[in-house]
C-alpha cells in the first residue's frame, strides 16, 4: 500500500437523503465507508472485486458496486442503500414479494438483489423471465437457486405495470 492510499480526502454527499460530511482515507471503498463510518450495514462486502453484487448500491440513480467505487469518488453524489429505500417505502412491494415468495434464505445477497432488481423495474415495462435472469446475473445467490427471486421480481413488475395502467 502506498502512502497515497492513506491520505485523507474530504467529501460531502447525501446518503439516504441526509447530508453527510466526512474525511475518508483515499483508499477506502464506498461500501466500507457506509458500513464502518455510517453504520449502514445493509450492503454487504462479499467478493470485494465486483463480481457477486452483494454490495450493490444506488449512486446518482445507477446501480453501482460499493466495492468498486471509492468513498472519495462519491463526493457530491446521491447515495441510496437498502435502509434508505426501506425508509422511503418505495421498495415495500418488492420486499413484501421477496418475503411472500421466500425469495431469500440467508439474506446476505438480498439487499444487493433488491437494489439491482429496482434498477430493472425502474424501466417500467414487464420484463420477460429471461430478461430478469439476465439482469440479475451479476448478483449471486447461493441459497435459493434464483427461481423464487425471479418469481418475486416478475410479480412486482406485473403489479406495478397494472397499477400504472389503471
Amino acid at each position: 500500500m502506498t502512502a497515497a492510499f492513506s491520505n485523507k480526502v474530504d467529501i460531502e454527499l447525501t446518503v439516504n437523503g441526509e447530508p453527510v460530511e466526512a474525511r475518508v482515507p483515499a483508499g477506502q471503498h464506498l461500501v466500507d465507508f457506509l458500513r464502518l463510518d455510517l453504520g449502514l450495514n445493509g450492503a454487504h462486502a462479499s467478493c470485494e472485486h465486483g463480481v457477486c453484487g452483494a454490495c450493490t448500491l444506488r449512486v446518482d440513480g445507477e446501480a453501482v458496486r460499493g466495492c468498486l467505487m471509492l468513498a472519495a469518488q462519491a463526493d457530491g453524489a446521491e447515495v441510496w442503500t437498502v435502509e434508505g429505500l426501506t425508509d422511503q417505502g418505495t421498495s415495500a412491494d418488492l420486499q413484501q414479494a421477496f418475503v411472500a415468495r421466500n425469495a431469500l434464505q440467508c439474506g446476505f445477497c438480498t439487499p444487493g438483489m433488491i437494489v439491482a432488481a429496482e434498477d430493472l423495474l425502474a424501466r417500467g415495462d414487464v420484463p420477460t423471465r429471461a430478461a430478469i435472469r439476465e439482469h440479475l446475473s451479476g448478483n449471486y445467490c447461493r441459497c435459493t437457486g434464483y427461481e423464487a427471486i425471479i418469481d418475486a421480481v416478475e410479480s412486482v413488475a406485473r403489479a406495478r405495470a397494472g397499477k400504472d395502467a389503471a
Binding site: 500500500m1 482515507p25 483508499g27 477506502q28 458500513r35 449502514l40 450495514n41 445493509g42 450492503a43 454487504h44 462486502a45 462479499s46 467478493c47 470485494e48 472485486h49 463480481v51 457477486c52 452483494a54 442503500t81 437498502v82 435502509e83 426501506t86 420486499q95 421477496f98 418475503v99 411472500a100 421466500n102 431469500l104 434464505q105 440467508c106 439474506g107 446476505f108 445477497c109 438480498t110 439487499p111 433488491i114 423471465r129 429471461a130 430478469i132 435472469r133 439476465e134 440479475l136 446475473s137 451479476g138 448478483n139 449471486y140 445467490c141 447461493r142 441459497c143 435459493t144 437457486g145 434464483y146 427461481e147 423464487a148 427471486i149 425471479i150
Partner: protein, 793 residues
C-alpha cells in the same frame, strides 16, 4: 392427544402450511445482524499471513516491518499461539484406522497447504492489520509437494507426515455377497471411470468470528457464523483451557453455510486464542481469497466402478473403487473420512440387489483440507450409481426409467437393510417415480427429444433416483468420541401476555428454522404463529443441541419443539382447569384462547391466564403447579439415520459445436416425510438442486502440480448465476417416519444429492447417438468437445 395431520381443518393447523418466515422481513430491509455488523468497545482486527507455498519448513520470520505499521498492535507466530491453544487430532474411533497428525491454530514450523495461517497481525483497523500482514517476512524452505490423489500411496511419492508412515488417512472396504462370481456370470458388465471435481461452498458471507475474552468474568464470548454453537463451545473450552460453562457462543444471522461453517478452522481458533491473550474483542472476517484457500473443499473423488446386470435388466452386482484426497489434515472434529465413508454407504442405495463391494481410499495431499459439504458423499454416490444404471440400460437396450422400476425396492418392502448395511424404515421410490413421470410427462418429452433430433438439436433426458441420509443418531459422530450432539432440545415458555417464546438448540442458517419451529410451537401450544418468538444460536440461553447439519433441524429440533409445546399446553390447561373449575380433558387451546374442547366456546384468553399466574398467583389453589416453561429433548433411537428418497430429472440441450449445455428444465420429486412448510421445503430443494447443478456444469477448484490454487476468486471459480439456471418443478410423496410424532425427515440436501447425476445422464442421453460419453465433472464445453472428438490435443 395426537395431531390429526390428515385433517387440514383441525384447530391450530399450522404444521403442513406455508406460513411466512418471521425473520425474513428484517433481512429484506437490510436489518440483519451478521458477525461483521457487530462492533464492540476496544475491538481490534486480525489479519493472517498465509503460506504462499504448498509445503515448506518455516525457517525464519521477521515481523519488524509489520510492527512499524501505524495501527498494528501485535504480531503472533504459530509458536506464540501454541502456548495458548492446544493442537487437535481429527480422528473418530468408529472410523477404524483413520489417522491425522496434530494440527495447530497456526503452522508452528511447517506449512502444509497454500493458505495455511503462519502468523497473525492484530491492528486497530482491518486495513492496518492487512498492511502489516503483507510486510511479515517469512523464510520458507520448500519441501516435496504431494498433489495427485491416485499416486499418493506410491512408493516413490514423498510422505507428507513421516510420523504417520504413509499418506493413507483412511481406507474402508465393504463386501456383501460374491461380486466376482456375479460379474463372471452376468449377462452384461459395464464399467466406467467417474470423477467429481473439488468444490467449495462459496458462502456469500465469508467465515466470520468476533471473540471477546473478559478476564474479570473469566468468560469467552464468541460471536460466530456457525452451524453448531454448542460444538464450538466445547472446542473453544477444550483447546483454550477454559471451563465449558465459561464459554458462550452466539450465532446470529449467518450468510450461508451449506456445511462450510460446521467445522473448526485454524484461523478462527487463532482469533479466539488472540482474544484471550489480548483480553479484548478480536474480529476476523475472511476475505474472498482466504475463503477459497481455507474454507473446506469437498468432493474431489476419482472412481472406477462396474455394474453387472442380467438380460432383464436386474442388477446383479455393483463394484466401486473410490479415491479421494483430503489435504494435509483431517478436519476437526468431524473428520475428513466421512465423505468417502458415505460413498461406500450410499452407492446402489435405491436398488434391491445382492452383491456389493465398495472401497474408499482417503489420502493426504498438500491442498486445502476437505470435509463435509452439503449432501456429503451423496452427489458422488448418486453419480456413480445412476451413471452405471443408465449405461447398463443402454447396453441392453432398455429405457432408463424401466430399468430403475425393475430394481428399486418395492414401496411395501420396508423395513429393509441394503447391501451396504443401511437400514431403511420406509421409502417410496416407485410412488416418487410415478409422480415424476406425471410431472414431466415423460413420453411427451421423449417425443420432443425425437423431434428436436430431426432438426439437428441434441437434447437429452436424465433421470437420477437417490436416497438421502437425514436425522442422524449418535452413530454419525457420537459413537466415535466426538462431542457432537445428535439430540436436540427446545424450551417453550408462555409470558404474561399470552405470547410464547421458544428456545431451540437447532440454528437458523436461512433455511427457515425459525418459521418451521414457530409453526410447530404454534400448533402444539394452540396459538397463532405470530405470537411465537423463536430464539436460537446462544449456548448460554438455548437447550443443548447439535445445530444445523445432516438435514436434522426439522426432524430432530422440530420434534423437540412439538413435545415441548405439547407439555406447555398441558401446563396451561392444568392452570386453566383450576381457574375454570373444569376438567383439563374438556378444555383446549385454540388461537390463543382457552376454549371448551367440544364446542369451541371461548372460556378465557391466555393473557388472562398469564395475568393470574404471574401477578395474582395468590388466587390459585396452593400447591397448584403453574410451570409455564417446559423443556423437551428428542433423539432418534430406532434407526441410525432416517433415510429419505427421491428422483430427479433433467432436460437439456447440448450444442455439439460449442460444447455448451443449456438446461431447459429440471424436476425433483422427493419424500422427506411429513412436510411442515411446503414452501420452505420446495425452496430447500430448489436451492439444493442449483448447488448440484453448479457441480455438474461449472464448479471446479484447480491446482497446479506445485499445489498452487489457480482459481481463487469468484470470477474464476464459477458458481451458478440466474441466467443459466432453469425453472424447477418440485413434487412430493410423504412417508412420515414413525420415530417421531411429527414424522419429519430432512430435506436440505436432496436437491444437491441428485442433480449432478441427472445432468450427467441427460448429457449422455443427448450424446449417445453420437457415440460420446462424459463422466468427469464439471461437464465443461471443453470436456464435451473432447468427448465428441472435436478437440484432440
Amino acid at each position: 392427544m395426537t395431531i390429526q395431520f390428515g385433517n387440514p381443518d383441525r384447530p391450530n393447523s399450522y404444521i403442513g402450511k406455508t406460513v411466512p418466515r418471521p425473520n425474513a422481513e428484517k433481512l429484506v430491509q437490510g436489518r440483519g445482524r451478521y458477525v461483521d455488523d457487530i462492533v464492540l468497545p476496544r475491538m481490534v482486527h486480525v489479519a493472517f499471513v498465509r503460506s504462499p507455498v504448498a509445503h515448506a519448513r518455516i525457517s525464519g520470520l521477521d515481523a519488524e516491518a509489520a510492527k512499524a505499521v501505524k495501527g498494528v498492535l501485535r504480531v503472533f507466530t504459530g509458536a506464540d499461539l501454541a502456548d495458548v491453544c492446544t493442537p487437535w487430532v481429527a480422528v473418530l474411533a468408529h472410523l477404524k484406522g483413520l489417522k491425522s497428525p496434530p494440527q495447530h491454530a497456526m503452522a508452528v514450523d511447517r506449512a502444509c497447504w497454500v493458505g495455511e495461517p503462519v502468523a497473525a497481525v492484530v491492528g486497530t483497523t482491518r486495513a492496518a492489520a492487512e498492511e502489516g500482514a503483507a510486510l511479515v517476512d517469512v523464510d520458507y524452505d520448500p519441501l516435496p509437494v504431494v498433489t495427485d490423489t491416485m499416486t499418493a500411496l506410491d512408493d516413490d511419492t514423498p510422505v507428507i507426515h513421516p510420523d504417520l508412515g504413509d499418506n493413507l488417512a483412511f481406507r474402508r472396504l465393504h463386501e456383501e455377497g460374491d461380486v466376482d462370481a456375479a460379474m463372471e456370470a452376468a449377462h452384461k458388465v459395464v464399467s466406467a471411470r467417474f470423477r467429481t471435481a473439488r468444490h467449495t461452498g462459496v458462502t456469500l458471507e465469508p467465515r466470520s468470528i468476533l471473540v471477546d475474552w473478559n478476564p474479570a468474568e473469566e468468560q469467552l464470548t464468541a460471536y460466530h457464523a456457525t452451524q453448531a454453537p454448542h460444538m464450538m463451545q466445547t472446542v473453544f473450552a477444550e483447546h483454550l483451557g477454559i471451563p465449558e460453562g465459561r464459554v458462550r457462543v452466539v450465532c446470529g444471522d449467518v450468510g450461508g453455510s451449506y456445511g462450510i461453517k460446521v467445522h473448526v478452522y485454524p484461523d478462527e481458533m487463532a482469533t479466539a486464542a488472540i482474544a484471550k491473550v489480548l483480553a479484548r474483542p478480536v474480529k476476523f472476517i475472511a476475505d474472498r481469497l482466504e475463503s477459497f484457500t481455507t474454507d473446506i473443499h469437498a468432493r474431489d473423488h476419482e472412481i472406477e466402478a462396474r455394474i453387472a446386470v442380467d438380460a432383464e435388466g436386474k442388477i446383479l452386482a455393483i463394484d466401486v473403487d473410490d479415491w479421494t484426497g483430503i489435504g494435509p489434515y483431517s478436519v476437526y472434529p468431524r473428520t475428513s473420512a466421512i465423505e468417502g465413508n458415505q460413498v461406500v454407504n450410499l452407492c446402489g442405495g435405491p436398488y434391491d440387489f445382492a452383491n456389493y463391494r465398495a472401497r474408499t481410499t482417503v489420502v493426504f495431499q498438500n491442498k486445502t483440507p476437505t470435509c463435509q459439504y452439503r449432501a456429503v458423499g451423496h452427489p458422488i454416490a448418486v453419480a456413480i450409481t445412476e451413471g452405471l444404471v443408465d449405461m447398463a440400460a443402454a447396453a441392453i437396450g432398455m429405457d432408463p426409467v424401466e430399468i430403475r422400476r425393475r430394481n428399486m425396492y418395492a414401496d411395501d418392502a420396508y423395513p429393509v437393510t441394503s447391501p451396504a448395511k443401511m437400514k431403511f424404515e420406509g421409502l417410496s421410490h416407485h410412488a416418487s417415480m410415478d409422480r415424476l413421470m406425471e410431472l414431466m410427462d415423460y413420453d411427451a418429452l421423449r417425443a420432443d427429444q425425437e423431434a428436436a433430433r430431426k432438426q439437428g438439436k441434441h437434447r437429452g433426458i436424465g433421470i437420477a433416483s437417490f436416497i438421502e441420509l437425514t436425522n442422524p443418531s449418535p452413530f454419525m459422530y457420537g459413537i466415535g468420541g466426538a462431542r457432537i450432539s445428535a439430540q436436540d432440545g427446545c424450551t417453550v415458555r408462555m409470558d404474561p401476555d399470552g405470547s410464547v417464546v421458544a428456545l431451540s438448540g437447532v440454528t437458523e442458517q436461512g433455511q427457515g428454522t425459525e418459521a418451521m419451529l414457530s409453526q410447530i410451537v404454534a400448533e402444539s401450544v394452540g396459538v397463532t404463529p405470530d405470537k411465537v418468538r423463536i430464539i436460537t444460536g446462544d449456548t448460554q440461553v438455548t437447550p443443548y443441541g447439535g445445530g444445523t447439519w445432516a438435514s436434522r433441524g426439522a426432524g430432530i429440533g422440530g420434534e423437540a419443539a412439538l413435545q415441548a409445546g405439547r407439555a406447555l399446553r398441558g401446563s396451561i390447561l392444568e392452570v386453566a382447569a383450576a381457574m375454570l373449575q373444569s376438567d383439563e380433558g374438556r378444555l383446549d387451546i385454540r388461537d390463543g384462547q382457552v376454549v371448551d374442547a367440544d364446542t369451541g366456546e371461548t372460556r378465557m384468553p391466555l393473557e388472562e391466564l398469564g395475568r393470574i399466574v404471574y401477578f395474582r398467583g395468590d388466587t390459585l389453589p396452593k400447591g397448584l403447579p403453574r410451570e409455564l416453561v417446559q423443556t423437551r429433548h428428542f433423539i432418534t433411537m430406532d434407526y441410525p439415520f432416517a433415510f429419505t428418497n427421491g428422483v430427479q430429472a433433467s432436460y437439456l440441450e447440448v450444442d455439439t459445436d460449442t460444447g455448451v449445455v443449456t438446461l431447459l428444465k429440471h424436476w425433483c420429486v422427493e419424500d422427506c416425510g411429513r412436510i411442515i412448510n411446503p414452501q420452505l421445503v420446495d425452496e430447500q430443494i430448489r436451492g439444493g438442486i442449483v448447488q448440484g447443478l453448479g457441480g455438474a456444469l461449472f464448479e471446479e477448484i484447480h491446482y497446479d502440480e506445485d499445489g498452487q490454487l489457480l482459481n481463487g476468486s469468484m470470477a474464476d471459480y464459477l458458481v451458478p448465476m440466474a441466467a443459466e439456471m432453469p425453472d424447477m418443478i418440485v413434487g412430493h410423496v410423504e412417508t412420515p417416519t414413525a420415530e417421531s410424532e411429527l414424522g419429519a425427515k430432512g430435506a436440505g440436501e436432496a436437491g444437491t444429492a441428485g442433480a449432478p447425476a441427472a445432468v450427467m445422464n441427460a448429457i449422455n442421453d443427448a450424446l449417445r447417438p453420437l457415440g460420446a460419453e462424459v463422466t468427469e465433472m464439471p461437464f465443461t464445453p471443453e470436456r464435451i468437445l473432447r468427448a465428441l472428438g472435436k478437440i484432440n490435443d
